[in-house]
Symmetry: C2
């Protein structure tokens, strides 16, 4: 599949090293086919962003789906979010979008602005049921995000090694504990 080949090229060569010819060769397709399917280079990148975003939104929604203890749900979700944002594909797409305003807007729309509301409605519902007290779901999610992600994403975007799975889990749990502590004091 072409999108798969494009991701492989992207991971190996970086955003600047990706060429339509290399992708075509790896996919066993011709350049002309790529152009007829995706229009141009940006179109192909758009398709990659959408493909990644679809997989993401689905996972986020299902992580917040059960009715376990909010601490467990949030902590699992936190770990998943960290894993997602330090995943090589996401990183490469973020790097590529960073220097292209159209792609950047698409990435924001299909990523942050699609995931945000899902989490916010979870926080609102949980808060309404009295288990958890958040002042405002939107700012609460930002606080949660900050406590979990910290400077991790920007550092790996700039080339640092991503934290180990174990470290990710620890971070997810600590961040969740900190978030719940702030909730208890009415500071989230």
């Amino acid at each position: 599949m072409v999108i798969e080949a494009a991701f492989e090229e992207l991971l190996e060569q970086g955003a600047d090293g990706v060429t339509m010819l290399k992708i075509a060769r790896r996919a066993g397709a011709s350049k002309e086919t790529l152009y007829s399917w995706f229009g141009n280079r940006d179109g192909l990148f758009s398709a990659m962003i959408r493909s990644n975003a679809d997989a993401t939104a689905e996972r986020v929604a299902s992580a917040l789906d059960g009715d376990d203890d909010p601490r467990d749900t949030l902590s699992t979700f936190a770990t998943g979010l960290l894993r997602l944002l330090t995943d090589q594909r996401s990183l490469a797409l973020n790097r590529a979008a960073m220097t292209n305003s159209v792609l950047a807007a698409e990435l924001l729309a299909s990523g942050r602005h699609r995931v945000g509301p899902i989490v916010e409605s979870y926080l609102a519902a949980t808060s309404a049921s009295g288990v958890l007290a958040v002042v405002d779901p939107a700012t609460a999610f930002e606080t949660f995000y900050g406590l979990v992600i910290r400077d991790t994403q920007i550092r790996v975007l700039l080339g640092e090694q991503p934290p180990s799975p174990k470290a990710l889990r620890a971070r997810g749990e600590t961040g969740t504990d900190q978030f719940l502590a702030l909730c208890e004091r009415g500071l989230a």
Copy 2:
């Protein structure tokens, strides 16, 4: 000055739109002069990164310098950090470095890894004097960073409008309050 001209080009054209010729013209210099001063394109970008980092480190150190109430010091510092990370020059440099591993490493070294220790030693000293209780200065700084910056930097990197100065200040204060609350409970 050449570096100034380069920054202007970078802000107007974006990282990909910057060419040595345009910079030379804007600076009233010749391409050959640029090459003799900076070696090559990356050398010029390195110089820009260093120039920006020097200004930054100085401001950070002086913000943490006085012996005011830690809440005031931290809150002022927080606002400054937010302003710094959403500043157009920093953003443009981050975007440019994101697709160039050498520049990325330089940006990390002269930015995050230079500012971090300064803040950590402030936290350690303040903690030692009993005014504030942090478990570990390094993770405490990460927590503080997360509470202040949240997803602001990545969003503006992807093209969103930076928050207003007023919003930045509010964020700096709220983030500081949250951080101090976590300190009190031994969670930072």
